[in-house]
Subunit: 348 residues, 2 copies
């Protein structure tokens, strides 16, 4: 899944170049890191990318031959994750008859790749053996209020656990209880299941969407494929797979993943990717900092000079400068909303 | 006087382009505002500019025909204000026999130009009639700890007052006392006197400098003029006219000036020049501010976007971005010192 609007890392990410195309790790852009991370675990020729139609060409270009052209599925409109996953499931069903799908966000960071691969392989086997909806829950390392949680059924240590419930982002007190409890895992948005299994779920729980998917599936491989997709896809009801299916199914199982996952949801996540210097600052590019602590300074073209700053994010890109305290990092998308409203679309 | 190192308004001002060349008012660069402000009061052909040798050409260019080429006096080295004023006095003595000199910093802001002109004219008459050292003290409008003060002898309202003493920048408590007292005025660095009178003071109080000035004066108009200047000027003792002469003379008189003066000493002074918007922000260029209060945002080429900032200065120029809380505005020069130390001289 490589969608997204490029709002949370503005001005680094843009509408036309969202987060998955950012090289935040210093190694490669996130989508390529996501693909390469699966090496030896899922064959490159078996990887599909579902993206927005406006980013399909960019995706092909930026992934530099990693992905087959016909494996880039271009959504004519953004209709949330249920539509995206249903579309991909239908494609797999039509192309291969059936198959285990691993649905992975293209823009997360994972520290321990070996552990990650092991968990993915176990998840694939679990999906094969149990034919249930498999998800990966991340071992929480701090009482996060920014993630949803998956409560697993407490039992002896096992490869997988039945899911008792999905819970929304908690307040701090609740998050602390979850952390202490030990049976709450972070919802990573990674899903593993048979294409046929998830499509049965659509039929049962989201029949309106299923009807659309069947129309799209029937046209696959015909001359009408694109026409039908363009007609049907934009009217698929917008719902996430979490709300639409996961939270309403009783055969969901979870595997625990303890592999240094981070969804890189906003600028403050960069502290996980990089080691701050002795003053707690992350510096990229040409920076000159005086009496500056725990700041993130990203300079593309110009020198960033600061005096007396604490817990502030300063980002300079080719046409914009963002300055914002770290505790407002989650609100960066408000800037893109304001720019949209003010008609300054050249900056989006 | 148009010297200065371009450190307090970095990155707007630079070593090669100090503050007097900044258009901070939105009308014209400060040096031209200073020249034009004298219109109808001092004839343009009687205006001289003393500047650094490296800025002489730029000064001629930027003043756009306002100043005669031979009226731009280029100091071969920066030797503080006593040298600068002595050099100009000698030039006037040699060129005109004698004359009243008005010594005015090139980079101050004055709101009420009519009042200013009246005060200058009165000061010229005072210098003519009394043959004393005349200075202009600014009516204080708040208990400033950033300016030196001139204490005048309390007496009936008059055109001029004898100066009782010059006092250093006070602490806040003392500044409040000065404001309440009514006989303390801000030291504006404006001086009015006869060239012959100040040169006599040099002879009496700063004989080493006087000796240098005589050598330079003797060479004026000869083929050796430049050679002697280059040889003698760089070894003139560095001292300010305040320390060297004003504070050591008992025939100093002061005129009160209440004309909205500001020395534009650092970024926070911009608030005097511009009316902040309803959130207390000063915006120049393309800015998009969310939950931002009492900030100064100066965007040259790029959009500046902020969220949740308070009392912060953000300045973007062609090659640098400065971010600094307002209460550190006085420390902007530390950045230039650090850049110098770090060898990043391209930004100076």
């Amino acid at each position: 899944m490589a969608g997204g609007g490029g709002t949370r890392f503005w001005p680094l990410s843009r509408k036309a170049r969202p987060k998955q195309f950012l090289n935040l790790t210093g190694k490669d852009i996130l989508v390529n890191e996501t693909i390469d991370r699966l090496s030896g675990c899922i064959a490159a020729e078996d990887i599909f990318i579902v993206t927005n139609v406006t980013q399909a060409e960019l995706t092909l270009q930026e992934t530099k031959g990693r992905i087959r052209r016909d494996h880039v599925l271009a959504e004519p409109a953004a209709r949330n994750t249920a539509a995206c996953i249903g579309y991909a499931a239908m494609e797999i069903l039509k192309k291969y008859g059936d198959g285990i799908m691993c649905i992975l966000p293209s823009d997360a960071y994972i520290q321990k790749v070996d552990v990650y691969r092991e968990v993915i392989e176990k998840a694939v086997r679990t999906a094969e053996e149990t034919d249930s909806l498999v998800t990966i829950g991340i071992t929480p390392t701090f009482p996060s209020t920014g993630y949803g949680y998956i409560k697993r059924v407490a039992k002896e240590e096992a490869v997988w656990y039945p899911v008792e419930e999905f819970v929304e982002k908690p307040d701090m007190e609740t998050a602390k209880e979850y952390l202490a409890d030990g049976n709450y895992l972070w919802n990573s948005g990674m899903f593993i299941w048979k294409a046929s299994t998830i499509l049965k779920k659509f039929e049962e729980l989201l029949p309106d969407i299923y009807e659309c998917l069947v129309k799209i599936g029937d046209a696959m491989g015909t001359e009408q494929e694109k026409e039908v997709l363009n007609e049907v896809y934009p009217v698929i009801p917008k719902i996430s797979v979490d709300y639409g299916i996961m939270e309403r199914s009783d055969d969901v199982v979870v595997l625990e993943g303890d592999f240094g996952w981070n969804d890189v949801g906003s600028y403050d996540a960069l502290e996980v990717l990089y080691a701050p210097d002795e003053n707690g600052n992350l510096q990229y590019g040409d920076c000159s900092l005086i009496d500056t602590e725990n700041c993130i300074c990203y300079a593309k073209d110009k020198l960033i000079a600061t005096i007396g700053l604490k817990d502030v994010i300063v980002v300079e890109t080719e046409d914009a400068v963002l300055v914002c305290p770290k505790d407002r990092a989650q609100d960066v998308k408000k800037i893109t909303e304001k720019l949209e409203k003010d008609g300054k679309t050249e900056y989006l």
